[in-house]
Symmetry: C2
């Protein structure tokens, strides 16, 4: 245990989290950083009053899970230079204000990418080959009673369009190539180092794909990036996988198309109003519903701790940050 | 439509199948081969009497699905030189008698391998990341009521032991390498062209693996190749995937270990007494049950038709067969 004086000497990091967000590696971080966590305070003071009290000296904010970071909160921290986020998406941070004030933001996508990619591939195989639906069929005792389960669809040869080829999209592409899928992608700009065909518009990507995998960041520009037109372009046998954020898809339209049989299937780890999931989906066999668990494996939390620690150390020793969010 | 005379001139192929096994591409095969199918016969004669009537001239038998081919049946066909099987496994054929009489046997593993490998990977991701169980959780409305679903396990870094590195095992290895798994295998002989560690004994493979994927052929030697000792060696967090045949695993022991929590999980597409599945498994969340559908995609049937046609053509034009089963 560090003495009070030793603790004083550690670099100061303000923790920002709503009460039900916890981070299990907090005590290990405390060996290296002086963590100011308003939720540790025994006084009945509000988060904001706690923050105000320490505000002048705080250069780094550690944001746990998607705890909102508003322009108002940022205005209380005049010395802030860095926000270290423990999430992959950073749509809960006012990035416009961060850019204006030159506050750097790091995310944890790198720690999560392999796990998210694994789940995306798992959901895709599940939808195409009807794994969860087949499991239900067996558990209901229908195999012995009704005979063979209807056939699914082959993964090999499918044209897979990836919406957002960041570190998650890249990991997905690497995996699906080994299954013999043809990869294409959509992103704001063509990536010179990537061999796959690029489509400037998601609509054009959808027209040329059998499967859309949505894994881009949620911003004002990408909200409902997969709208009704895109889904209709994907076609009646088209499959949508979403491991990004629920609001990337117009969920109301998605549900309608699925219910009417105008879309082939969907594998969804995220929803617009989590944990509420549209009940119309519960009876569909061509849909796999996952309770936002793309990034919840123990190994993933280890990688997260490592990345957060590395970003904090880099900042305090004036070295390059490891996972900076690009503003544009 | 060929005239009767033209039809007479086509190479003769005897079809062997039990009544509920059908092959949808039969009419296309009939354009190239004269198919003798006892089930087409309008007379109430038995399969055996039908076969006897044509027996002397038959050189090729097309065996649909796992219709049993016994020593007795073979004794009725003195001129038989080739059995073309429409299945991947050939445990329904008396291979000892075939070897003795130098009857070649072809299987359809090559047509099925990619699909079987896809399902094996899908089942593995499903068990580790609890996809089907998570889907049940959401559909039951428990996400909103009970909160986050328990975390799963990461696929990357897992040591995967493949039991039987034939064409299916090879396809599985190729896929799992892209997820960052460490592959090892067991087979009768070490394969010189394969870079993965080889274990002569399945037990030793299990000791050194987190996951066992069972995809070898079922023979007298491989029946219950995954016995209690092997499963105990795999350990309490070990996962077993079976896309081979049910009897490759001692199912009774498997069920006991799973029920007692002495095995981490299982993804099973095959069972010892299909379509009967041990009901003790129905309530387990670490188990994924699939109604033997590893090879049922439309694309898979196309590949099957192509392979069967190619083997038949090769035989009748004295060219090398495409997928010969090796006896040993």
């Amino acid at each position: 245990m560090a003495t009070a004086k030793e603790e004083e000497a550690l670099p100061l990091v303000l923790v920002h989290r709503i009460p039900n967000f916890d981070f299990p590696f907090k005590h290990r971080l405390q060996a290296q950083f002086r963590l100011l966590d308003p939720l540790d305070s025994v006084l009945p003071e509000s988060t904001h009053s706690f923050i105000s009290c320490h505000a002048a000296s705080v250069r780094v904010l550690l944001c746990v899970d998607p705890t909102p970071i508003s322009r108002h909160l940022l205005s209380l921290l005049p010395s802030l230079q860095l926000i270290v986020c423990s999430s992959a998406g950073v749509d809960h941070v006012d990035l416009i204000e961060c850019r204006r004030r030159s506050i750097a933001v790091t995310n944890a996508g790198k720690a999560f990418s392999p796990d998210v990619a694994d789940l995306a591939v798992g959901l895709l195989i599940d939808v195409l080959r009807r794994v969860s639906a087949g499991d239900r069929y067996v558990r209901a005792g229908l195999w012995a009673r009704n005979g063979e389960y209807p056939v699914g669809f082959k993964l090999g040869g499918k044209r897979v369009g990836i919406v957002g080829l960041g570190s998650i999209g890249g990991e997905i592409a690497k995996r699906l190539e080994s299954f013999g899928c043809a990869i294409a992608y959509n992103s704001r700009r063509k990536k010179p180092s990537v061999p796959f065909p690029w489509y400037k518009a998601v609509y054009d990507l959808a027209i040329n794909s059998d499967v859309l995998i949505v894994c881009c960041a949620l911003t004002e520009e990408t909200r409902h990036i997969v709208n009704k037109d895109v889904m209709v372009a994907l076609g009646k046998e088209g499959v949508i996988i979403n491991v990004g954020r629920g609001a990337l898809i117009d969920e109301k339209e998605l549900v309608q198309l699925l219910v009417r049989g105008e879309l082939g299937g969907a594998g969804l780890d995220v929803f617009e109003n989590e944990p509420d999931v549209p009940e119309e989906l519960f009876s569909l066999n061509n849909v796999v519903l996952s309770p936002h668990c793309a990034v919840t494996t123990p190994e993933c939390f280890d990688a997260l701790e490592e990345l957060i620690t590395a970003n904090l150390k880099a900042f305090f020793s004036s070295k390059p940050l490891l996972s900076v969010v690009e503003f544009d």
